[in-house]
Symmetry: C2
Subunit: 151 residues, 2 copies
DNA sequence: ATAAGATAGTTACATATGAAACTATATTCC
DNA sequence: GGAATATAGTTTCATATGTAACTATCTTAT
């Protein structure tokens, strides 16, 4: 009779991560949606293009941990809302260069402080040392979960 | 001219949390699905009932950070697969008491070690001290994200 | 030069998810 | 006792998401 090991969901790390992350993401998503009618995928595209204008959709996907379908959809909706501009590649007809329109830039200028403020609020329960520790742990776990995940 | 603050997605904590958590969840979900044809919501229901048989659906929802609709669907599918048993409440006709069937118990007995093994593997890049730190940070952030989240 | 294969991006389909409406039972309050 | 309200759980509907198939363009190799 080998007893089944105990598992308490509340002590199970993947569960705890999931609950916490979902709370944070939902809270942020709600803010973005209310203020800008912006989804999280759209926000990611804007964040990437705000920092690196002129990237292709594929490059945006690479830098935002989204797949090309997600990016395609987010870009389509941002273009429809005239928040992005697109420009043909000089020589490669498949590629489109994306960048923020004036409208998109205005959102970027407003959403970045909001995002940073939310992050700050979220981290406000941690002292400086703890934030540093979280940063280190996240880096480690991100690089190890890289292998875990099956690309 | 007040410049927009910089935001690098790769340094933005909510983004990093989201990427890491999604990798972990996807990897786990894939294992559960392949081995047991079990979704994450179903697994959560089984995990809760394995530890606390006889709970109502509402109680399962409370303990698994899911809403009643998610639980209802997971329970329906688990019942269809004969992985759960249900029993009417003695006096309250609305309530159903849920517990694992033999089939469900067999899955529980097998899935718990698998889950613990995956957690261990995920945490294997951290030393004992770091695990302790992660645990503490998660507890803090979970209780603070509690308020963040709007219920 | 052209066939074979690779790549960028979109579309289609099937499934998952969330919010709100709904059903049924219980409780409260007059 | 009966209307009003609350609660447990399900269903419906609209939307989001993931996978695979597709189109168009480009690259490679012969």
């Amino acid at each position: 009779m080998s007893a089944t090991p105990k598992l308490n969901l509340d002590r199970f790390t993947p569960y705890r991560l999931s609950v916490m992350t979902n709370r944070v993401s939902s809270a942020i998503a709600q803010h973005y949606d209310e203020r800008f009618n912006l989804s999280i995928p759209e926000w990611r595209v804007i964040a990437v293009l705000g920092q690196s204008p002129g990237l292709s959709a594929r490059q945006v996907a690479e830098r935002s941990a989204m797949d090309k379908v997600q990016v395609s959809r987010a870009v389509a909706s941002l273009l429809a809302a005239r928040r992005l501009r697109k420009e043909a590649h000089a020589s490669d007809g498949r590629v489109v260069h994306l960048s923020l329109s004036a409208k998109g830039q205005a959102i970027y200028d407003e959403v970045v402080p909001l995002a940073l403020g939310l992050e700050k609020r979220f981290l406000s329960v941690l002292n400086q040392q703890e934030r540093k520790a979280l940063d280190r742990l996240l880096s480690k776990l991100l690089s190890s979960s890289d292998q875990l995940w099956h690309p």
